[in-house]
């Protein structure tokens, strides 16, 4: 119960930081995608259950704060956990825990920004592929990777163990 409460507080802080702090520190035209960073680190350090419970909470908080429709937020963040688990399960892919985090933050960052670009275009934004790729996608991914790397290094330095994203190993029996 206490862990659940802490997760909710962390996600609320994430949403506040996304709307109150991240836009103050843009790189070219992009801002860091903190929900992706936090969900990924939550999965790696707190286990998949934390994300399974936390995602709907995050979607609610973020939907209220940014006025983006809930279904788009679910679409943007839902694939992160199963995809990370799939990569982790395929042992034939050479990987370290940090490599998994790095690859996933890039993949999830691309996916989330692509979804939000489509949302903007469906409500009237004109498509400009060049600026979207250079000013939003690439610079945004650099920010995401920088933030996730720093926080990951801090968490490992503190001594937090990396957890498995596999539900079976995490004790889940469907």
């Amino acid at each position: 119960m206490m862990r659940m409460l802490l997760t909710v507080v962390l996600l609320l802080a994430t949403v506040l930081a996304q709307v109150a702090i991240a836009p103050l520190f843009p790189l070219v035209g992009a801002v860091v995608e903190l929900p992706v960073v936090v969900l990924l680190l939550l999965a790696v350090f707190a286990g998949p259950y934390a994300v399974m419970i936390g995602l709907p909470v995050l979607v609610l908080f973020l939907g209220f704060s940014t006025n983006v429709e809930f279904e788009w937020l679910v679409m943007a963040y839902l694939p992160l956990l199963p995809c990370a688990a799939w990569i982790q399960r395929h042992r034939e892919i050479p990987q370290t825990p940090y490599a998994l985090v790095f690859v996933m933050v890039i993949a999830a960052g691309i996916w989330a920004r692509a979804v939000f670009s489509v949302v903007a275009m469906t409500s009237g934004a004109s498509l400009a592929v060049g600026p979207v790729v250079t000013d939003i996608l690439l610079t945004g991914l650099v920010l995401d990777a920088a933030v996730v790397s720093v926080v990951y290094a801090l968490c490992r330095w503190v001594g937090w163990p990396v957890r498995s994203l596999d539900l079976e190993q995490a004790g889940f029996e469907p």
Binding site: L12, V15, L16, A17, V19, A20, I21, A22, P23, L24, F25, P26, G29, A30, V31, M52, L55, P56, V59, L60, F61, G63, F64, S65, T66, N67, V68, E69, F70, E71, V74, M75, L78, L81, P82, A85, W86, R89, R113, F116, S117, V119, A120, M121, S123, G124, A125, S126, A128, P131, V132, D135, I136, L137, G140, D166, L167, E168, F172, P174
Partner: protein, 274 residues
């Protein structure tokens, strides 16, 4: 694919939740909950933002020292010119008021009511730029109200008004397009955001660097003659009939803390809907 089957229950539940929230949200049933949430988190957002704003401004200014010095020199010069013009206009205004009184003429500015609002947060996504302000329907704000800087420059439009706060779509949002014209010239076009900057798509006439672009009032979405920005660059060759024109807004939207909502102006389309 085994891993997906293990997550399939949760994925299915999330999709169902998304559908439910989409339906409930569109029906407006979550608006009161959203308002309560925003009331509760508003002070936190404002406090957090005000702590980090000076830090962000410092880093932004350090990277632009040369440009800021040049801008400062230009603004000092402009300031002197404008002070002189202002003095002349004040005299003209007094004279006009005297004449109106003598003739019994009453002029009413339909855009006179401007409500000051504080910026609670900035919402920046790919191609989108929005603000959340601390005034809503309880204070007379409605969807479609134009939003100005304290100096009177247009910065956006209210897209959703909740009881105690509202969302404002900025001019630089790529979904934003405004019927505009060159001040003092018949040239007109459309000012469009591109997710960070502002362009002017010329439809008819000529435009030069330094021209001021204002709202034209066409379409009834905005009142006429509200300043939008100044032409800073014209891309394309001289034969190009439709060059891309870059605009610079005279207000720093990224650090704006207070805005004015024109509560007395409702766009024509909203009036028809009502």
């Amino acid at each position: 694919m085994l891993i997906f089957s293990r997550y399939s229950y949760w994925v299915g539940a999330m999709v169902a939740l998304a559908v439910l929230l989409a339906v409930v949200g569109r029906a407006g049933l979550l608006d009161p909950v959203q308002d309560v949430f925003l009331r509760a988190t508003g002070p936190l957002e404002e406090g957090t933002s005000s702590v980090f704003s000076p830090v962000a401004s410092f880093f932004s200014d350090v990277g632009n020292v040369d440009r800021l010095q040049e801008e400062n020199r230009r603004l000092l010069s402009e300031n002197e010119t404008l002070r002189n013009q202002n003095a002349a206009l004040r005299a003209d205004s007094l004279r006009l008021a005297e004449l109106e009184e003598a003739l019994g003429v009453v002029t009413a500015d339909p855009s006179a009511e401007r409500l000051a609002a504080g910026v609670l947060s900035r919402i920046q996504g790919p191609l989108t730029r929005e603000l959340r302000i601390d005034r809503g329907t309880n204070h007379g704000v409605v969807e479609g109200n134009p939003v100005l800087s304290v100096q009177g420059t247009l910065i956006g439009t209210v897209t959703e008004a909740l009881p105690s706060s509202s969302f404002v779509r900025l001019l630089t949002d790529s979904r934003s397009s405004i019927a505009a014209q060159v001040r003092g010239s018949p040239a007109d076009g459309i000012a469009k955001g591109n997710g960070g900057a502002l362009n002017f798509e010329l439809v008819e006439g000529d435009v030069n660097i330094g021209d001021t672009i204002v709202t034209s009032g066409l379409g009834g979405t905005y009142p006429p003659d509200i300043p939008i920005g100044e032409v800073t660059d014209i891309l394309g060759d001289t034969q190009d009939p439709f060059p891309t024109v870059r605009l610079q807004t005279t207000v720093r939207i990224s650090t704006t803390r207070t805005v004015l909502v024109m509560t007395s102006f409702t766009p024509a389309r909203f009036q028809v809907d009502e």
